[in-house]
């Protein structure tokens, strides 16, 4: 795997962590919780090397 591709996977993992952390910390808005998970879908699928 080329270096640039590894770097992009690291960026994806970092964004996934940020969104998951925001999901854990959110206490008030259900809409925000749903949005965090929605945005997580393509990131998780890429990290799992599915799509």
């Amino acid at each position: 795997m080329p270096f640039i591709m590894i770097f992009y996977y690291l960026i994806t993992a970092f964004l996934t962590f940020l969104l998951a952390w925001n999901f854990v910390r959110e206490k008030k808005k259900v809409e925000d919780l749903a949005l965090y998970l929605l945005v997580l879908v393509p990131l998780v699928l890429r990290l799992l090397r599915v799509k």
């Binding site: 591709m5 206490k27 919780l33 998970l37 879908v41 890429r46 799992l48």
Partner: protein, 387 residues
Amino acid sequence: MKRPGIVKALLLVVFLAFIIHGGLRLYRHRHFDVPVVAGPGVTRVGRLSDFGPGLKGTMADTPVYYLEGAEPGGKAVLLSCTHANEPEGWLAALLMIENAVVERGTLIIIPQFNHSASRNTRSGDGYPLYFEIPTEWGQKTFRMGNRDASPLDQWPDPDVYIHYPERQLLSYIDVRNVNRTWPGRPNGPRMEKVTFAAMEIMRREKIDVAIDIHGAETMFPVTNCIVAPEKANRIATMAALTVKAREGFDSHVEPSPTGFRGLSHREIGDYSDTLPFLLEAPIPFLDQPTGPKTVKLLLDGKDPFLLRLAQKKKLFVSYDESGWPLEKRVGQHCSLTLEILSQYSKKNPERSIRVREIPRYAEVVQNGVGHYFHDPSAAPKDKVYMN
């Protein structure tokens, strides 16, 4: 928000259900193999990585079938699945692998040239993941691929793809389109490595003729045609005229543009001694103004919206209630391939290529494509290759 823990747990269950349900379907599609029964003409099977570095062990590596005749002669390469969402080329190539016998010369077939794209899909456009062809021994299932390689195999895309070596600026997504990355380079992005390996086949094997099989929208002007550069134009014209006169179907000749780089019909000719040809058959499934992208539309090419557009003369091919079925598209590719080889052989008798057992247009239309596929469960195991 009351009871945030319960709400989060419920949302997570929905999230995981989406990931598992959708993800498993996509994972299975990417790893679904199509069995191919090597016919009596296949003398050996190699890999594209035999010719280029950086492909071995990746999803970009792909099988290469050799059909070598008893008599020495010329050599031809047939590429399909350059765009894996144009399956008539793939089916024509598989039909030849399973049936063709070469008497003189060599035919090299790479049925899934963009192997990564053949394991990719365009879920945003509602593409089906699979399609089935009826055969005399049951349904044969094929993967439906995408135009471009999967980002799982080549990522990220650049903002602009700078073609090598001409440095023409192309769309970012063309970096994963193997009909924009010719002639390629050994140390470029993976799709450039794919085309570089194919160029190495042309150069090392001294290939005379290369045929790249495609499908194109009915609303796209470069459809139902043979695209050829100046040096292959005469043979393309003779082939188009002959099939029109003898077999009754149209396929006009389009000149390969000199200012548009990266295409097989341009770069193969410019960077090797090979004569390149690109075949296009109309595939209504790819047109934008159609109904849902169903397997039925893929196979029969019938669409009411295209029919209305045809009545308003907005299409570049004739189109009526009969649509543009798969049999016609595959049959055209078979006949045009045979005719190009025949015309080349007439012009170069010392490098002639003689092939038999490939059906012509009328036979494929009459018998259907599935008629020519063999049952892998009834074939000897050493003849079955998983693609």
